[in-house]
C-alpha cells in the first residue's frame, strides 16, 4: 500500500494549486495572495466586531499570519472600546504577543498577567513603557488589553467578565482548560491551527470519548459541538512556508482546506558560501537548498529512541549548514541574510531525543540552535529545520508516532528548507502497522489520518533522498 496519489501534489507546484473545495476558475486565474489574505481578514474582523455571534473560529494553516491577525483584532477591539482579554497557551506565546502589540501600537495600554514563579515573563517586557505587569488581575483592571496564559487565567476569580476575549492556539487548548476560563468573557475569537498537535492527556480519557465536552478534546471541538452555528473562517495563505513546501503540507495535512504559499518559486533562495565536500550531510543540504526538502537516509536498523548515529547525523547536518555559510534570500530583506544558529531548529518526537541532539551539538561546538520536541516547536518559525523522523529506527508505529499533528509541526516550521534524518524502512514499517485505534462512537474522525499523512510526506521526501552510511 502506498499513499493515494491524489493527496500528494506534484513537486512543481506553481500550477498544482490544491483545488479541493475551491472553484477551479478562481484558482486558475492569477492568484494574488495578499488580496486573498486581506479579504479573509476583513471578513473575520467583520464577524468579530459585529454583534451577531458569541464566537468566531479562525483556522489558520502554518505561518498564515495568525499572530498578525490576533494583534490586529486586539487593536481593533480595543479601539472599539471593548475591554479585551487574550488567552494564549504558553508564556512564550504571551510575551511574543505583548511585544508584537507594543511594536504596532506603543501607546496601547497592555496588561501582562503573570504567575508567581521566579522570572515569570520575558525581561524584554520591562523595556515597554505602556505594558503593566502583575500577578493579580485586579491590578490590571481597566487596561485596554490584558494578556496571559490559559493556566493563569484559570485562577482568576471574582472579577467582572471581559466583553471580549481572543483565544490563541485554540486547537492546542484542552476543552477542560476552556471550561475553567470561559466564565471570564462574554464573547470570543478563537484562532488556531487545526493541523497541529491535538492536546493530550497522560491518563486515559476514553470514558468521555464521544461526549461533546470530552475534557481531553480540543477547546474548538467542544465549542463547535455546542455552538455549531458559529462562523468559521480560514486564512488562505501561508507566508512562512516556501512554494516548495506549501503544496506538500497543504495536501498531506489539510486535504479539505487547502492553502498556498504567499511567495512563489524563486522568491526564496538558500545558498552556501562553501562548496560541498561530497559527504552525506553536505549532499542533503545541497538537495534541500535546491528543492526545499532533503531526506538523509541512514541504513535500516532498529535502534533505541536516542539512536546515536541518527542523532549525530542531525548534529552534523547543522554543523555543516553553519560551516558552509548558508545564506538565505527572501522577500523579507533586500539582500541575502546569513543563516545563523538562531535561524535553525532541530525537531524531534521525544524529549530524550532532543536532549541527545543538544549534547551532540555541544560536542560539535554548536550553540544557539533551538532543539526541541514537536510540542514545543509549535507556533515557531525558522529558516531551516532539521528533523529526526518520529518513526526512524522504530520497531513499531504507535498512535503517538503516527499522530498527524506531530509530523505536520515538524514539517512546517521552515521558511526555506527542511532536512529530515531517518533510517530506511519507514515505508515498510508503516505498511506493517496500519492504524488500529478503536473507533469511538460520536467522535469525529480526523482526516487525514497519521498513517496516510506519513506516507504522503515520505513519498515526497523520497524524491529528495540522499543515502548515507555514517
Amino acid at each position: 500500500m502506498t499513499a493515494p496519489p491524489a493527496s500528494r501534489p506534484a513537486p512543481d507546484s506553481s500550477s498544482a494549486v490544491p483545488a479541493a473545495g475551491l472553484p477551479s476558475s478562481a484558482v486558475r486565474s492569477a492568484f494574488d495572495p495578499g488580496a486573498a489574505a486581506a479579504r479573509a481578514t476583513d471578513a473575520i474582523l467583520r464577524d468579530t466586531l459585529g454583534a451577531a455571534h458569541r464566537g468566531v473560529v479562525v483556522d489558520s494553516p502554518p505561518g498564515a499570519g495568525k499572530s498578525t491577525l490576533v494583534v490586529r483584532a486586539a487593536r481593533e477591539l480595543a479601539a472599539a472600546g471593548r475591554p479585551l482579554m487574550v488567552i494564549a497557551q504558553t508564556n512564550a506565546q504571551v510575551d511574543d504577543l505583548v511585544v508584537r502589540l507594543a511594536e504596532k501600537d506603543p501607546g496601547l495600554p497592555v496588561g501582562r498577567l503573570h504567575s508567581n514563579d521566579p522570572d515569570p515573563y520575558d525581561k524584554a517586557l520591562d523595556e515597554l513603557p505602556n505594558v503593566r505587569k502583575s500577578a493579580k488581575a485586579a491590578e490590571l483592571a481597566g487596561l485596554d488589553i490584558v494578556i496571559s496564559t490559559a493556566a493563569k487565567w484559570a485562577h482568576v476569580q471574582g472579577v467582572e467578565p471581559w466583553r471580549h476575549a481572543i483565544v490563541d492556539e485554540a486547537y492546542q487548548m484542552r476543552s477542560d482548560a476552556l471550561l475553567a476560563v470561559a466564565g471570564l468573557f462574554e464573547r470570543a475569537l478563537f484562532v488556531g491551527d487545526p493541523g497541529q498537535l491535538d492536546p493530550f492527556s497522560v491518563v486515559g480519557a476514553d470514558q468521555w470519548a464521544g461526549l461533546s465536552y470530552d475534557p481531553s478534546a480540543s477547546a474548538v471541538t467542544t465549542l463547535l459541538a455546542h455552538n455549531p452555528e458559529l462562523p468559521q473562517h480560514r486564512l488562505p495563505v501561508s507566508w512562512r512556508l516556501p512554494a516548495s513546501a506549501a503544496p506538500l503540507v497543504s495536501g498531506a495535512f489539510y486535504p479539505y482546506t487547502p492553502f498556498r504559499s504567499g511567495t512563489g518559486h524563486g522568491d526564496r533562495r538558500l545558498t552556501f558560501g562553501v562548496a560541498s565536500d561530497g559527504s552525506g550531510p553536505d549532499r542533503v543540504l545541497d538537495e534541500a537548498a535546491e528543492s526545499g526538502w532533503g531526506l538523509l537516509e541512514l541504513p535500516a536498523r532498529r535502534t533505541p529512541r536516542t539512536d546515536p548515529e541518527a542523532v549525530r547525523a542531525v548534529a552534523l547536518v547543522v554543523r555543516r549548514l553553519l560551516d558552509r555559510g548558508g545564506v538565505a534570500t527572501s522577500e523579507r530583506s533586500p539582500g541575502p541574510v546569513p543563516v545563523t544558529a538562531d535561524r535553525i531548529a532541530v525537531g524531534t518526537a521525544h524529549r530524550d531525543q532532543a536532549a541527545a541532539v543538544r549534547a551532540a551539538l555541544a560536542e560539535l561546538g554548536v550553540t544557539g540552535v533551538a532543539v526541541d520536541t514537536a510540542n514545543r516547536l509549535q507556533g515557531r518559525e525558522f529558516d531551516v529545520t532539521v528533523v529526526l523522523h518520529p518513526l526512524s529506527g522504530r520497531p513499531d508505529a504507535t498512535a503517538f508516532h503516527l499522530e498527524t499533528g506531530r509530523l505536520c509541526v515538524l514539517a512546517s516550521r521552515h521558511r526555506h528548507a527542511c532536512v529530515v534524518v531517518c533510517r530506511a524502512g519507514v515505508a515498510e514499517l508503516l505498511d506493517e502497522h496500519p492504524s488500529t485505534e478503536p473507533v469511538q462512537l460520536g467522535v469525529t474522525v480526523k482526516f487525514p489520518d497519521g498513517w496516510e499523512a506519513n506516507h504522503a510526506v515520505l513519498s515526497h521526501l523520497s524524491e529528495h533522498k540522499v543515502s548515507w552510511r555514517p
Binding site: L179, A180, V203, Y213, P215, A355, R358
Partner: protein, 562 residues
Amino acid sequence: MSLISTLARLEAVASGRARPLATVRHRRISERPLVLVPLTTAGEAGAPLGALVGTDRDAPRLLTVAQPRDRDLRFAFLGELAEAVLPYIDAYTDVIEPAERNETDPETGKRVKVEVELCVDAPQLVVPSRPGIDFVRLLGRSMRFRRTAEEDPETPYPAPPRVPLLGRWLTHYGERARVPGSSLLLATTDLLNRHWATGQSGLEDQHLGALLAWIDPPGTLSGAEAALLAELERDRDGQLACPPAGPATDPAFDNRLLAPAIERYDRARQELGAAEDGADAEERLARLTAAERHIRALLLGVMRPTWDAVWHGLDLLRQLPEGARVEERWTRDRWSFTGHRDRVRAGEPPQPRRDDAVTAAQKLASRETALAQLAAAEALDDPLVLAGHRLSGEAFVGEVTEVVMAYSEGKRPSPRPLITVRTDDRPHLGERTKVFRSLDGKPQSAEFVRYGDGPADEDEAGTGTGTGTGTGTGTDEDGTLVLRLTDRMGRSKEPAPGSVPEKGDRISWTLFEHDQRGGPKLPDPEETPWTHGGPPVREGTAEAGPDAPRQAPDPVTEEDFL
C-alpha cells in the same frame, strides 16, 4: 517502554525467569481482600455466567447462572452477589476515626476545617485481570439504576433488595480504579506487571497463568516453557489446563461442555413444567437439580484455577515490603470510600449515566495529578524505579563535594548556597533547570548552575541570572555539577539546621517535581459556560420537569431500515 524495563525484559528472556521492576510493593494489599473471579456468557453482553467470591482462599463462594439468558436467574445471581459482597463492605463503614477536612463555608465563602469521619480501613476488591475490572464496571452500570419493589412498588421487574446498592458500590470502585495508584479495586495482572518484567509480550502478560509462570515457574521449567504450557496445554477432552482468567471463557469449554450442560438443564426445566403428578414432578425436579449441579461443577472447575492463581499472585506481592508512600495513597482511597459511604447514607441518587462537563474535567484533572504524584512517589520509594529515571536523564544521584554559602540579592538576602555534586549519571540539565530532593519527606528545590567544579564566579552566584557558562555542554568529563539551593531553608539569614546538604552527603535529585499543584477551581456545574453547552439538565429534577423523559431515545435514522 523505558530503557530499564526493556533491559529487564531482555534479562528475563536470557535467564528464563521474570526480573523485578521494583524492590518494594507500590500498591496496598489489604490484610483481608475480597477476591472476585467473574465469568461472563459468550455472545451475551453483560450476562454473568458465574463467580467465585470471598475473603477466604480455601472457601470461595460459588455463584452460578444455570441459564444466563433467563433474567430471573440473572437477578437471583446479582442478589446473591450482593449478599456476598455488601456485608464485606458494610463491615468497614462503621469503623471510623475522627478527621478534618477543608470545606468552603457556604455563608462566608471561607475555607474552614470541618470535623468528619474517616473509615479506618477500606474494603479492597481484587479481580484476576483488567477485563475483570471492566466487568465490575459493567455490572455496576447494569445494577445501579434498578429499582427494588420497596423503592418503587409499580416497577414491572423489581430487582432483589440491595442489588441497586451493590451497583452503586461497584460503579464507585470501577471509577476509582481509573485513578492512578489507587488500590480499592485491583487487577492481579496489573499488580504483577507493575512489579515484574517477563520475557513475553505485553499482550501475553495479560494472561494471568502465563504471567505467573514467568514469575514463579513450577518445578524445573523455565518461565518461557511454563508460560507456553499455561497458554496451550489441554487435556484429552481438549480443555485448557489453565482456563482463561475471565470474564471471557474458552470457546472449547463453551462448545463441548457448557452448551450441552445448559441444554440438559433447559430440557429438565421444560420437563418439570410439563410434569403431571407429584411423583413425576419430584423425579423431574431431581433431574433439574442434577443438571444445575453439573453446571455448577463445570464452572467451579474453570474458575478455581483462576481463584488460586489470584491468591498465588497476592502471596508473591506480599513478599515485597510495602513502599513508604503507599500508606498516603491508601489514605486517599479511604477518603474515597468514606465519601461514597456518606453519599449513599445521605440518600443521594446513583451516579449519573454520564459525567457532566465539570465533573468530567475535575476527574481528569485529579487523575493527572494522581499520576504525577504516583510517578514521583514510586521513584522516591524505590531505588530501582529511580534507576530507571537516572538512566533516562530524569534523575541523578551524587555525592556532595563542596558547599559554598551564597545569598540572593535584594533588601533581605536569603541563603542560596551553591552545592557541588559529583555524579556518574548523565541528567538532562539545561540552564536553570530545576531539580528536587526529598528533605524530611518534603521536596526541596535547587537549580542547575553549571558543570564543573571550578571556582564560582561571584557575580553569577549573586545575581541568580548567570548564563551558566558551562551549560548545554552536557559532556562534562568528571561528572561534577553545581546546584543552587533555592528553598526550605527557613526565613532567617542563616539556613535552618539540617536544611543544607553537607559535604559527603549522598543525595538523589530528580528533574521532576515531587508534588503536584492542584488544578484551577472549575465553575459549579450549574454555571457551566456557553462554550460547554451551559448547565446540564438533571434527570428527574425540577428543571427537567417531573414528566420529562429520563433520556430521549436515539433518533431513528435511515440506517435503521437498511
